[in-house]
């Protein structure tokens, strides 16, 4: 990410009209700033509406920011007797963390096996894995639900987590990445007498952190944001996730906009923090992982 990476303009600029280039660059910057503002508008609306009084939101005169900031909306949200928001946040965190760790473990092992261990039927296994990418989850939804409930997992964290751990997408990304992993490192480990298992844990994993970060973040976002499965499996109020709690505000007969938006903001906030902190790794991971082909 150092300067000059996309040196497309660097070499030629000197020879072309300097003013033209500078004008182009300014135009690009203006466009970028405009787009950035547009991209931030939804976040702004979350905050604006979440901290406003109901009348501010529905007033025919647009106010850019509530004249009086209603932090009480946050308190109202967390003390609402009908919506266990704090508990739902805890559930979502547990589920997202467990799902992420489980998926990384299972998918990386499988991806490594598929990429690196010669086996006659490896291609068949790979196609069987990739095939599932083509089947939308909603298609198998009812049988999945019946299956999980016959295991007695309804309203349990197991039911919310385990069935979602087997991500073909994650497995494929790991396989693509491991295909390009430098063989010399593994060969050196074998010379040192390490078997495949220990090679994997002592050599391959420590050298693949960015990919784990990238896949982990994508899985984490997916787990945090998933809605339909937790809604149907989490029948017990104690098993509600943030998204399910959020949906109670939209399906109630009367909509309280300020509480709805403050709930939405609260549901997004933890992810934004995770995201901003890990962003570097995600980008680095994508660059090295081959997600992009």
């Amino acid at each position: 990410m150092t300067g000059g990476m996309t040196g497309g303009t660097g070499g030629g600029a000197r020879r072309t009209d300097d003013a033209l280039v500078r004008a182009g660059r300014a135009l690009r910057l203006v466009l970028l700033i405009a787009l950035a503002v547009l991209f931030l508008v939804p976040f702004y609306l979350l905050v604006r509406n979440g901290l406003a009084a109901e009348e501010d939101i529905t007033s025919p005169e647009w106010t850019f920011f509530p004249s009086e900031v209603h932090w009480s909306n946050v308190r109202e949200l967390f003390t609402d007797p009908d919506v266990p928001m704090a508990h739902a946040l805890l559930n979502s965190s547990l589920i997202a963390v467990a799902t992420t760790l489980g998926t990384l473990l299972l998918a990386s092992l499988a991806g490594y096996g598929l990429a690196r261990i010669p086996y006659r039927h490896a291609d068949a296994v790979l196609y069987a894995v990739l095939g599932t990418l083509l089947v939308p989850a909603a298609v198998t939804f009812v049988p999945s639900f019946v299956l999980v409930s016959s295991l007695g997992w309804v309203s349990s964290l197991r039911g919310l987590i385990v069935p979602t751990l087997f991500s073909a997408f994650a497995c494929f990304v790991f396989r693509q990445y491991f295909l390009g992993f430098p063989r010399e490192l593994e060969d050196a480990a074998q010379v040192d007498g390490l078997g495949p298992w220990r090679t994997y844990w002592l050599v391959v994993v420590p050298n693949s952190r960015p990919v784990f970060a990238a896949v982990g973040t994508i899985v984490f976002i997916g787990a945090w944001n998933s809605f339909l499965w937790p809604l149907v499996i989490g029948q017990d109020r104690d098993a509600w996730t943030v998204q399910v709690a959020l949906s109670t505000f939209t399906t109630a007969q009367s909509v309280k906009l300020h509480e709805l938006f403050v709930a939405a903001a609260v549901s997004v906030l933890p992810l934004l923090v995770v995201f901003l902190v890990l962003q570097r790794y995600i980008v680095a991971g994508v660059e090295r992982s081959g997600i992009d082909g």
Partner: protein
């Protein structure tokens, strides 16, 4: 002797293969293939409100779903949606990547801004779009802006003439996913060797469009193929934003109803016609498979040029 050694080695490798992939494959079989097979089986039965039907009806469900104008129009909706969303996301994310990638300063800032929506859920985004940006009354943001120019408020999601709901549906997905694909393109740009540009400059290619056309774009081929494939598969599986934007307690309007929404109302809601839903699902999965395979064959996914 060498052969015997080879056989033992192969067996050992097969064992290691399954040690690594076994747990994953087992889980995938249980939680994906079992329900999938179950769905396929249901498709051959009259399965109203049951998952263990006894009334075998052969291909009746397939005949019915393919003959249902609502299902065919759902497929049409998908084609239309794809025609909007795939080029729009492609152009926007590539454009963002090119612009952000060339920034000297504040690159990380702009990248973060465009990447940030990836963290939002469809539920939250649909909420903001439906209730704040594109609500149909005067205090919606879009209508407020229109009001500044003296225009009448528009009922964005309810209007069918012109079909403004497409603007809502497409922009919400564009906002959510453009940043992610921008990062993929940024990664692709990183991999282009700078020598290519230097050589082009020596050959007299002007920076800007010519360089892009002859160097950057061809060098991004692998990324482009992967991005388009992902975009199409994701468009096929579109459900969340449509459902959260357009459905209400009483159902769903007869327009902008993509296949998964159709299947949802056939099989998952109170309809519970699981046989018909499963048949439709199988048809849909086959269409996705054919489209994907054609794309992969056509563009040659996985061929890397670097």
């Amino acid at each position: 002797m060498a052969a015997a050694y080879g056989a033992a080695r192969r067996r050992r490798q097969a064992l290691w293969f399954w040690v690594f992939t076994g747990p994953f494959v087992l889980g995938l079989a249980l939680f994906t293939y079992v329900p999938l097979a179950w769905s396929v089986w249901l498709g051959f039965f009259d399965a109203h409100n049951t998952v263990s039907p006894t009334d075998f009806t052969g291909l009746d469900n397939y005949r019915e779903v393919l003959g249902d104008p609502a299902f065919r129009s759902a497929l049409g909706t998908f084609v239309l949606f794809t025609a909007f969303i795939v080029p729009a996301t492609y152009v926007l994310s590539l454009g963002l990547a090119l612009a952000v990638g060339r920034l000297r300063a504040a690159q990380a800032f702009f990248r973060s801004v465009f990447f940030l929506p990836t963290a939002c859920s469809y539920v939250v985004a649909a909420l903001v779009w439906k209730l704040s940006v594109f609500n149909g009354v005067r205090f919606g943001l879009a209508n407020t802006v229109l009001g500044w120019f003296g225009a009448e408020p528009v009922a964005w999601l309810s209007a069918t003439d012109p079909p403004w709901y497409w603007l809502v549906v497409v922009t919400v997905r564009l906002w959510l996913q453009a940043g992610f694909y921008m990062v993929l393109f940024l990664a692709g740009l990183q991999r282009i060797p700078p020598q290519l540009y230097e050589a082009a400059a020596v050959d007299g290619a002007r920076p800007g469009w010519q360089t892009f056309r002859h160097i950057t774009f061809p060098a991004l081929r692998a990324t482009s193929v992967a991005v388009v494939l992902l975009l199409v598969i994701n468009a096929f599986q579109a459900f969340d934003e449509f459902y959260n934007l357009l459905s209400d307690a009483r159902g769903y309007p007869p327009y902008a109803r993509p296949p998964l929404v159709y299947l949802y109302y056939t099989a998952l809601g109170q309809g519970q016609n699981l046989g018909l839903g499963s048949a439709g699902a199988v048809v849909l999965a086959l269409v996705i498979a054919v489209v994907s395979v054609v794309q992969v064959r056509w563009f040659g996914l996985g061929r890397r040029e670097a």
